[in-house]
């Protein structure tokens, strides 16, 4: 707790004006914009593909499914710097598949997709497991098409799961650094907020670093609040 208090103190010390100056610096604005944009894009991608993957893991059956299921957690267990290096090995300068993404914004999205992959899958999967297939069968017997069944029955049930997974993924994506340093680096177009803060610290500008860090910290607080509110909303029937 104390370290965070020191951070607040440092940000306060510079005063309102210094704070705004550090935040509205074009480099800072660019880094923050890129961070939030990339994080939102990644959350969208993973909420769709994560839901698909969770669906496949619960409803589909094929050889090696349990292996696939355990591989999902790999991004949680793998050090992020290693994650960055693996992406660099395949999609970097010496790519065997001919895809060269190093130091591009696509690489940022790719790396963030990697590290946030498990969140939505792991929050949707248990809900899908509990979901009664009979409800869907009943709807189908009444003439509902696949899409209607999904939209009217499955989606409303798994939506809280998708949302809470997405929110956690968003928090993770906003603060990510380890997987990005190698494949995205700190070029003019690819400096995300966490790398920008890191650079400011290296340059000895701890006040500027603290100001930008405050923005990230505020975002993290909002995310935690959102998770809490969501949990409150989802359990409203149990509490009533």
């Amino acid at each position: 707790m104390l370290p965070l208090a020191a951070l607040l103190w440092e940000a306060k010390k510079t005063g309102k004006e210094g704070f705004w100056q550090a935040i509205s610096n074009p480099d800072a604005v660019a880094a923050l914009k890129l961070t939030f944009g990339a994080a939102l894009a990644v959350v969208l991608i993973n909420s769709v593909l994560g839901t698909v993957t969770a669906w496949v893991l619960v409803r589909d059956d094929f050889r090696g499914k349990s292996l696939v299921n355990s591989v999902i957690d790999l991004p949680f267990a793998l050090p992020t710097i290693v994650a960055g290096l693996t992406l660099l090995a395949l999609y970097g300068p010496n790519s065997v598949v001919g895809v060269h993404l190093a130091f591009t914004r696509t690489a940022i999205v790719l790396a963030l997709c990697f590290v946030t992959l498990p969140f939505v899958i792991r929050t949707v999967q248990p809900v899908l497991l509990e979901l009664d297939v009979e409800m869907e069968e009943a709807a189908r017997s009444l003439g509902a098409g696949q899409l209607t069944v999904f939209r009217k029955i499955v989606l409303p049930n798994i939506l809280p799961g998708i949302l809470s997974g997405s929110v956690l993924a968003l928090a993770r994506a906003l603060g990510e650094i380890g997987s990005l340093v190698l494949i995205a680096g700190a070029t003019v177009h690819t400096t995300v907020a966490s790398i920008y803060v890191f650079q400011l610290i290296q340059d000895g500008d701890s006040a500027g670093a603290a100001a930008v860090a405050m923005v990230l910290l505020a975002a993290a607080f909002f995310v935690l609040l959102a998770v809490g509110a969501l949990r409150f909303y989802v359990t409203r029937h149990e509490r009533a």
Binding site: A6, T53, L74, L78, T80, V82, A89, L168, A171, G178
Partner: protein
């Protein structure tokens, strides 16, 4: 069912493109010239030292956070006190906040102009750019895991058994060691595995506070970064493969210890 096959294809292709193919590539690149060069780079004294630092940090952080996590979980589930909601929210904070921000916070606290820096400096204790800072950063980022795993288990467990034991005259300690701990042990083990994985893999916070001095304060993860920046990629690949192998070991352990309800 073509629709089912299409969905399966999409999911598996996504996992392949983003997860498995890159990982496979690192293993291929590492071992493409055989085992000999890999062994050579790994036995480089600087690399060995980096692994030692990482292990020391984990050896301090894991037991500490295990005890703290269990205590926090007990407090959050069993006790009523002021600021409980706050504790519950703050324990998750290291998961939501950027590791760089954590590093910066520690940096500000222990730098020469920070709150503790001058006093520690006057007493000849160096925290920043030394082992203590690495350990502190590692502890901070791995706080939530044990508590997160234990809290739901404790909730489900209820406290009837403990009350029964209490009516039979069991002391608080006896109740904890004989009833509570055995019931939550799998959750604790699972949390410890996650904590260990996080400790060994921490990069962002450590990169800020360690100073990354080769052979002194470099950890395994920061050494990967430094080697890549110096175009010594084969060394970076070799360390990465070791770390990846640990991660895969962690996954296997998780599979073995996870309660068998899901999937």
């Amino acid at each position: 069912m073509p629709r089912r096959l299409a969905l399966r294809g999409v999911a598996l292709l996504y996992l392949l493109v983003i997860l498995l193919a890159p990982l496979g590539m690192v293993f291929y690149r590492t071992f493409q010239h055989g085992l000999e060069p890999v062994w050579q780079t790994l036995s480089d004294p600087l690399t060995v030292h980096a692994f030692e630092i990482t292990l020391i940090a984990a050896a301090v952080a894991v037991p500490l956070n295990t005890v703290f996590g269990v205590l926090c979980a007990l407090a959050i589930v069993r006790r009523r006190f002021r600021g409980k909601g706050l504790l519950n929210a703050f324990i998750d904070l290291p998961l939501a906040v950027s590791p760089v921000v954590v590093g910066l916070a520690l940096y500000l606290l222990y730098s020469r102009t920070g709150w503790f820096g001058p006093w520690l400096g006057a007493h000849g204790i160096q925290v920043l750019f030394a082992l203590p800072a690495i350990v502190l950063a590692t502890i901070f980022v791995s706080v939530p895991f044990v508590a997160r795993e234990v809290i739901p288990t404790l909730r489900e467990l209820g406290n009837e058994q403990e009350q029964a034991a209490a009516t039979l005259g069991a002391t608080r300690w006896q109740r904890f060691w004989r009833i509570t701990l055995p019931s939550i042990r799998w959750a604790v083990i699972y949390g410890v595995i996650l904590t260990t994985a996080r400790c060994l893999g921490e990069y962002g916070a450590v990169a800020v506070v360690s100073g990354r001095i080769e052979g002194k304060t470099e950890t395994a993860t920061t050494r990967v970064d430094d080697l890549v920046q110096n175009f010594q990629t084969s060394g970076a690949y070799a360390i990465s493969v070791v770390l990846a192998a640990i991660a895969i070991g962690v996954l296997v352990l998780m599979m073995l210890t996870k309660p068998k309800e899901a999937v």
